[in-house]
């Protein structure tokens, strides 16, 4: 086995980084006539992974506490409907609509948390239920705009309110010789999620409590930790990131699609697991998730620049999750 290697080689961070390097090497090999070496490819990738990345960040908190949240895709859908509803149909100011959508996400998460801690439901079952209900809600939202249920909410003229363009836009960082280094706003949101939640899990009591709850809930309770509140809070934050992702999704599409975020929860969980955060709880971290998101993003990118069709892409992605989990199990 891996006997004799230095300790660092056994750390999940090292394994995740190694996997990312492996994927990048694969990209260099399958570079599609040099497309992989183009600056633009990597540039676009950062924008493409952002929405999944936000979901994965929130999911990481929940998984560290030995939970799971299947509802994030549907909550994303609700918020991706509410944002255009508030701004296009109700003509709210953009900042109010923004905060309202974040609040809706957080409340949805808190409902998950309440079902789990107050009603004692298993996280899988509770969030499965909210996943179904939230999808229904997303389809019901258009009726508030005078449309029939299940319809898309579209701008009446042009591309809708300017906030959509703003969130979908990029900011110029540097006029480099090889091209303009621009960062999409959604990527900034994603990286902000990583940074803020990294601070939360590593530098606050709340973060430590989540690890303790995931590692041994009874020991955490006996140590005076409010297990219920901490879990509820973790689910609420997870919902909040889903709300943010929903806003970004609506801005990117320039409309509200009630099907938005369909099966996104699975991709977010996959990113967390590939990063090396253990589904059993108590182990993992935000930076691992960042690496996991990049690994998934690069795999998709490599497959798409090589013109692999969707059917093949899905098959290969599934295989990669299996490989990632096997590597994870080898630890310790």
């Amino acid at each position: 086995m891996t006997a004799g290697l230095p300790r660092i080689c056994h750390s999940p961070g090292f394994r995740a980084a190694l996997a990312l390097v492996g994927v990048l090497a694969l990209g260099c090999f399958l570079n599609a006539d040099g497309t992989f070496f183009k600056f633009k490819t990597h540039h676009d990738l950062l924008g493409a992974v952002a929405i999944n990345g936000m979901l994965a960040c929130g999911m990481t908190l929940v998984i560290i506490a030995a939970g799971i949240d299947l509802s994030v895709g549907s909550v994303l859908g609700v918020c991706a409907m509410c944002f255009p509803l508030f701004t296009m149909a109700q003509h709210w100011p953009a900042w109010l609509a923004f905060l309202a959508c974040l609040a809706i996400g957080a409340i949805a998460g808190a409902v998950n948390g309440a079902l789990i801690t107050l009603c004692g439901m298993q996280p899988f079952v509770a969030t499965l239920a909210t996943m179904v209900s939230a999808r229904g809600l997303a389809k019901y939202v258009p009726t508030f705009a005078g449309l029939t249920a299940g319809q898309k909410i579209q701008p009446t003229e042009g591309l809708g309110p300017p906030v959509f363009d703003l969130i979908d836009g990029r900011i110029l960082l540097w006029e480099a010789p090889w091209g303009r280094v621009q960062l999409p706003i959604v990527t900034i949101f994603f990286l902000a999620c990583v940074a803020v939640l990294w601070v939360v899990v590593t530098q606050t009591r709340f973060g430590r409590h989540l690890y303790a709850i995931g590692g041994n809930e009874e020991a955490a309770r006996l140590s005076g930790i409010r297990v219920g509140w901490n879990k509820l809070f973790a689910y609420a934050i997870c919902g909040l990131t889903a709300g943010l992702a929903g806003i970004c999704q609506a801005a990117r599409d320039h409309l509200g699609d009630p099907e938005a975020g369909f099966t996104f929860e699975l991709k977010a969980i996959a990113a967390v697991v590939i990063g090396g955060t253990n589904l059993m709880g108590g182990r993992g971290g935000m930076l691992l998730t960042l690496v996991g998101v990049l690994i998934i993003g690069y795999i998709e990118k490599i497959l798409s620049i090589n013109n692999v069709q969707e059917a093949g892409r899905l098959l290969i992605q599934g295989a990669i999750i299996v490989v990632a989990v096997i590597i994870q199990r080898r630890r310790g």
Partner: protein
Amino acid sequence: MHDVRKSFDGVEVLHGVSLDVRAGEIHALVGENGAGKSTLMKILAGVYVDYTGTIEIDGRPVRFGSPRDAERSGVAIIHQELALVPWMSVAENMFLGREPVTLWGTVDYGRMRAEAARFLGALTPGIDVRRNVAEYGVSVQQLIEIGKALSRNARILILDEPTSALSDAETERLFEILRGLRARGVALIYISHRMDEIYRIADRITVLRDGAYVGCRRASDLGRDEMIHWMVGRQIEQLFPKHMRAPGRERLRVEGLSLRAGAGGKMLVNGASLVVRAGEVVGLGGLMGSGASELLGAIFGRYGRQCSGKIWVEGRPFVPRSPRHALAAGLAMVTNDRKASGLVLPMSVLHNMTLAALPRATRAGWLRGDIERRLAEPLSRELSLRAPSLHAPITALSGGSQQKVILARWLMTEPKILLLDEPTRGIDVGAKADIYELMNRWTAAGIGILLITSELPELLAMSDRILVMSRGRITAELSREEATQERVMAAAV
């Protein structure tokens, strides 16, 4: 087994250990935790396959590639943690993986039950093989495991700490059965920390220390002091340090505490009253199921509002709503199950230590790693904790060191009353002596200790007063002078 060596990650943990066990004998394998007993037994049971050295069974050299191989050669191991499926019947458990089938390929339940009943009936009467394993207590489950091993023609039976969860009566029954197996020519390897049991049951004793073979002798020829000397490499003149205590003012008062197992269930604790003063150790004795653990848990708020009765801490009324409230009131509790309710296994030593005292390491909302270390370092010195570093994973530590980490966790909360439930269970002699010494230091500092222990010598030596519980009631209160093993036992049964 001869000259067996085994390494983990390049570190040799067994340095040429030998062991010979004869048919029809009970052979005790003793040593401190980490001495290599479990590793050696796992090699014999085919769990570890990469080792050097030879194993012979009935004079024929064997080399097992898997636990199944070992089983086929008649080696069976009964682990401390039993490996039964709780929601399957006794018969199904015994024949798990080799169910008898009918001509049609379906499971032949009739034959399975008859066979299961035959093997169990030879051990003990009164087990219904159709009932679920979960309906039986630990002691019966253990017998089911033994029956399962025998039904697989086990000729070498390894028992790892079989009595750790048994009451004295159950232990006695187990011993009867083991003696019966010995008479039938089964070779038994018996691993235990409990000296009294070893001398009562074992024919010969092999001692390991730090992965090396120390010696093997007939139990009747190996004195207790000498065995301890073999185990620790030094003579422990006094396992229990001398204690000089002067009880001070009242720390904890409990009156009429009762706890029911669910609505309409049986009374786990029935009207218990007690007082713990500053600087004294109150021992709580009783057999398994006496309700002592539940009493401690109820005081600490583990059962919330399920319990009734009155509690005063430091003279102030206290309602044990949750462990959090108990902690705030100055209580701390070490539970009797390190793995299940003590350690957070994925965490480091340091994080396990500071878990209950995180508010002390927080400044302006930030958890400060440097403060955590500053809190932990003096404590780990005080407890003479043996750990590679504070950042090492908790799983890298021996049982005794892990227990010290848990003690450190609670001391960090600066408690006034310590509730200790079997604080020395499953730890080696050296760590035990350390913990006794520490208990004396804490009482000298004014902490009141309520101690549960199932080891009578420990109870008698460490307690200033002894309360004995039986079936949820406190049946006796003995002063240090009055207490004898016989008196405690008389009140416990």
